[in-house]
Symmetry: C2
Subunit: 277 residues, 2 copies
């Protein structure tokens, strides 16, 4: 996400630096012209007018704490934003930043199941909704600046309250990931004994399981930081699966068709909202 | 599926007829040159050397019974194949066809979540696995002829026992459909009260829920005809979801990461098996 953002902003900003503890990432960022400077020390953030935190959500929450605890790690008047998938704990961490720092929580609704600079794509953000959450450190200046960055990426800024954001992404992002992972696990266990499992798995399996390819460290962080909303979404899904199970077991064709028809209608509803959107 | 098959075989066979109770489908098939003749009466099957049954699985099982009950509905020596997603009940129906008829159960591992002639695609079968199940009516001649048709479609014939096929597709096709439908239902219920649900649903939701767009009548048939294998696959998935739920609730990051890592490994395993072909 960070690499794609740097690529998308290249030429639109005075200079871009990359801070990553992995020297290979820094070297690649410099070699590919993604960054003007790079290094492994978080203190390098003091060089920046705008600090964009792109890391697993628990790591970036820790970074916000570190940046705030020693005032010298941020330039006076600096702006801090993040790209994390959970907003309540990020906004809480940003609220504790020192006065004089501008901070806005961010979550771009785009991404790939692969990560790393290899897959960086300057068009990743184009047309995506980019959720923005106000913090107690969101000055008027910070808000205007962040909206400008989002628009420079080609994305649409969308203001949301952090709790509401976290409930919505539990339903449309974290739940799909868990379902995809359960599917991949089930099939993987059987594939160990039966080569026909992978031989017959085609586009349906491919799409439904795609999110299971996501980085497990990053996603475990997300699920744990958004646990209450994730558990509620999961309970809703398991309740529906139990219902569908009962109708299949009892051969209740009418109720089964009705429920599957409602699922199809919901999918079409979303497609329609996409076209209008 | 039937329209795509007709398109793929156009020019490779002496003539193609379409039997459909919907006159609009017959008219479109003739207008687009997909068929040389068309009509709504199953008795028209008596004109054909090869009868391909492409219909929801319960309907095509009924058609096999009807074709077999009155000998005059099939030309002596005719070959009957089907494209249904469940094979045990289809093979059982084919076993009851009269002596002198050749019959092979078929299931091409390709498809779209949309159906109808509008979406017919002559390249749909290209490169796909095409499962073939022997019946007591599978003569040597019938087997060779069906393999020839599958190869003419550009697909790969793969012989399987019907029970084994049904268990495998429950895991890699019917389970993904049920999970996708539960996801679409959950999101749909919430979207009725909250426009941000559809606003934020992006590629992750899109792919994971794609199969929910499938025809509910057709899929209800499939789930009910394959109930034992579907229930077993569903129980496996719900068991895994319960485990993941426990680890999220308890904040057990190690076990959660391990399990999500195994899911990612399974997904990569499948991708790898795809590349090896």
């Amino acid at each position: 996400m960070g690499g794609s953002l740097a690529l998308a902003l290249r030429g639109k900003t005075a200079g871009i630096g990359v801070v990553d503890t992995n020297p290979a990432v820094c070297a690649e960022a410099l070699a590919r012209g993604i960054a003007d400077w790079a290094g492994g020390d978080l203190a390098l953030a003091s060089k920046a007018d705008v600090v964009v935190l792109a890391a697993p959500v628990r790591v970036l929450i820790r970074h916000i704490g570190e940046l705030g605890s020693q005032r010298s790690l941020l330039k006076p008047g600096a702006l801090v934003i993040d790209l994390g998938s959970v907003k309540r704990p990020v906004v809480a961490a940003m609220n504790a930043l020192p006065d004089g720092i501008g901070a806005v929580g961010g979550h771009p609704m785009c991404g790939k199941e692969v990560s790393g600079l290899t897959y960086a794509d300057p068009d990743l953000y184009r047309g995506a909704q980019f959720v923005l959450c106000r913090t107690v450190r969101t000055t008027h200046h910070a808000w205007v600046a962040v909206r400008g960055i989002v628009e420079a990426l080609g994305a649409h800024p969308l203001e949301m309250a952090p709790d509401h954001h976290d409930q919505v992404v539990a339903a449309i992002s974290h739940l799909p990931y868990i379902l995809a992972s359960a599917l991949a696990l089930c099939a993987g266990v059987r594939a160990a004994d039966d080569p026909d499992i992978w031989r017959l798995a085609a586009t349906g399996f491919q799409d439904t399981s795609r999110l299971a390819g996501s980085d497990p460290e990053m996603m475990a962080d997300v699920l744990l930081e958004n646990a209450p909303a994730v558990l509620a979404a999961l309970d809703g899904a398991v309740g529906l699966l139990d219902q569908l199970r009962t109708w299949v077991r009892d051969g209740d064709a009418d109720r089964l068709r009705e429920s599957l028809g409602a699922a199809q209608a919901a999918r079409k509803d979303w497609e329609q909202s996409r076209k209008l959107g």
